[in-house]
């Protein structure tokens, strides 16, 4: 991705997956990188197992924290169905989608009324938008609530947000957690980068 004037980052997942932390780390890291930011998270009802989204806008000439359909430079998804939804609704043509390859089945799938979203469905949707797809998964992660850190490390490794540096993320993580939790997250983050 080129370092253009404005960058829209659309994050999507299922309530309970820890999208709030991911979004909070990113907005703080962007701020530490001296970028102008606006963001917003889903609160309230949808947090109970529904689709949750966080939006982050970086750059000059931005007002609302809300991203327009089809204009997200980057879609970060924590789950397959939500990755597909993010691509369909928000990803801009030739954008980047980075998703954690796990599935929290929707009610329709569990009732055998709809089919589960597969990796191929995501790739097909991305092709239609000529977008780049990055699939992320870590075997034996232990704590599923750290999937967001795996995504974060991949974003840094691939230099998807060139203005935000490793130190910015680490300072942000230190703002948001302490003790064992911080240590576990930092250890994982660092190990994934090496």
């Amino acid at each position: 991705m080129k370092n253009t004037d404005r960058t829209n980052i659309y994050m999507i997942g299922v309530g309970g997956q820890g999208i709030g932390l991911l979004s909070e780390v990113l907005i703080r890291a962007a701020d530490y990188a001296k970028l102008n930011v606006r963001g917003v998270d889903t609160h309230g009802l949808a947090q109970r197992g529904g689709t949750v989204q966080s939006q982050l806008r970086i750059g000059e000439g931005i007002y609302s924290p809300l991203i327009q359909e089809g204009t997200a430079d980057i879609v970060i998804a924590l789950e397959r169905t939500e990755a597909l939804r993010g691509i369909q609704n928000y990803l801009k043509p030739s954008g980047i989608v980075i998703y954690y390859n796990t599935s929290w089945q929707t009610l329709g799938v569990r009732l055998e009324e709809t089919e589960e979203v597969k990796k191929e469905d995501i790739e097909q949707a991305a092709r239609k938008k000529e977008a780049e797809v990055i699939e992320v998964y870590k075997e034996d992660l232990g704590d599923t609530r750290m999937q967001n850190v795996v995504l974060l490390a991949e974003i840094l490794k691939r230099n998807i947000l060139p203005d935000i540096k490793k130190d910015n993320y680490i300072t942000a993580l230190k703002d948001l957690m302490a003790g064992d939790k911080l240590e576990n997250n930092l250890n994982l983050f660092n190990s994934l980068l090496s």
């Binding site: 309970g16 309230g44 529904g50 689709t51 000439g61 609302s64 359909e69 009610l107 089919e115």
Partner: protein, 628 residues
Amino acid sequence: MKSMGDMLLRENDFSEIVMGNTALVRAMIESGTRVVTSYPGSPMPETAEAIRSIPKEDRPFYFEFSTNEKVATEIAFGASVNGHFSTVFFKSVGLNVAADSFVQLPLMKLKGGMVVVIGDDPGANSSQNEQDNRHYAHLSYMPVFEPSNPQEVYEFYKEAAQISQEREMPVILRLSTHVCHAKQKVNFKGYKPFEFDDTPQFSSQDENYVPITSKVFPMKRRALKRIKDFQSYADDSKLNELIDNQNKDKGIITMGVPYLSLRDVMEDMDDKPDILKLGVIYPLPRKVIAEFLKNHKEVKILEELDNVLEKDIKVIAFEENINTQIIGKVDIEDWINEYTPDKVQEVMAKSWPNTFQPKDLIRFEKKAENRPAQLCPGCGHRSAFYAIKKALSKEDITVADIGCHTLGFLPPYEMGEVLLSMGHSTSTGTGLSLFNKDRKVVSFLGDSTMFHAGLPGIVNAIFNDHNLTLVIMENDTTAMTGHQNHAGTGANFNKEVEPITIKEMLEGFGVKNVYEIDTYAQSKLTEIMKDAVNEEGFSVVIATHPCMLQFTRQARKKGAYKDNKAQIDQEVCRQIHECVQEFGCPSFSIDKEGKVTVNDDLCIGDGSCIQTCPIDAIEMNLSKEGSK
């Protein structure tokens, strides 16, 4: 780790990334707010989380979650007439509950000043409607300020606080969901902690506080005069802003979230209309608006929800004899949903298609399946709905109320078929029971909601001897809004207190048949429900189980969480699918061949599913050690 509490009390200038709800708390502190009250409701509860981050002994104001919005309003009022600057905050529909007392506020001399913060919810993200509370300003003669982003939340509250204290009148600060939850870097001013004079100042000698019969008129006269006098403030207020793009033809009058959306939509346009962004939205800045109208050939009024500005502005144009073409709402869709940038694009294109050209989007035929909210893994309400459904026939009528258990309306339970408002269920159920001998009526009601507005309906069912069954879905918290305490939990916002025991309370009221059972005892609950619905008169079943989301979080904090997981014995499983499709815990996954497995990311090892399998194919995989 950064401490929000320390930040909120910092005495020098600083800036920090915060959401609107947090910026609001800093503004309360800087303004010398002395008493703050609320009842939990989205989009406002994070305001209380910010307050909680300040240790109680350091908190410069008293805060409580009251039992409902009306009570909260009355407490803030009582504090204000005693000389304390106070604030009450709650969600959109909370104002309906508060309204009986709220509409009286302008009649009173509010010695300490009082700000009412309302979190409206365009888009009905977490509400049963998207009512536009700007209407209440006309009804109650109260000025309304509306910020569009967190920086403005901070500044507008401080302004509202000052006006309210100077003029001893109530002021409304109207927020909306994406103002409350928007995050940005806010520049905060330093402040010096206040030294409060807590001498009680209430005096009924100097001032009449009892509006009864002819006493109402002088009070109403004063309220009207105050709002009329406020007009000159509105006209000079720095909260209104003109964005001058040198456009003599087209102008747009807007406010709040639609303003931000409009700026984004216009950002890359060449021929930008001028914008008048209103911060004081009642009473309208008449001169400023007349001037703006005169300077343009066409003016579009861009406002989300109802046509409140439009009507007032058209009156101004009529009275001032201005011939500018004023374009308001075009069709019904303009009245519906939040004015996001996409929506604003759509709305503006209807009036000025050449200026606001629609985008060409890549569309998909097969959309990803919607994922509405659902009951959490282990939720006691799931066991309750699953068990209660077995006790009822298909024709019986179930009445929902507000809370997590409203989600029982969705498949596979489909329990709770009608919903009005907080606490309505017993009385709506009562109405459904009249002239009804054939279909049993069962109403559901959460514990926090019962204390909020459910008690009058219960008392009425006893008083008028009605025939229905009420199921109290007790989970020992106000779960949906983020686990706030209520009168039955044993603690308030500030300290531990003696809990009100629901069963004892109902027996004290005189309910003859009160059953109480843990919802995980599913077959017993089914039997109890059969008895309860077959009894003549009003019966109550307290279906209790702690909120498992809260329970699991607390256990994790204490290091007491056991990482147990349910698992399916594939040798035994015959794919009956009772667990995944009838009980419906989201922890179960199913593959194309119908094989059921447990998603370990979701399962909390509560074991409530084990009893649902008719052939005992679910077992518990016990973790060897506690996990954090």
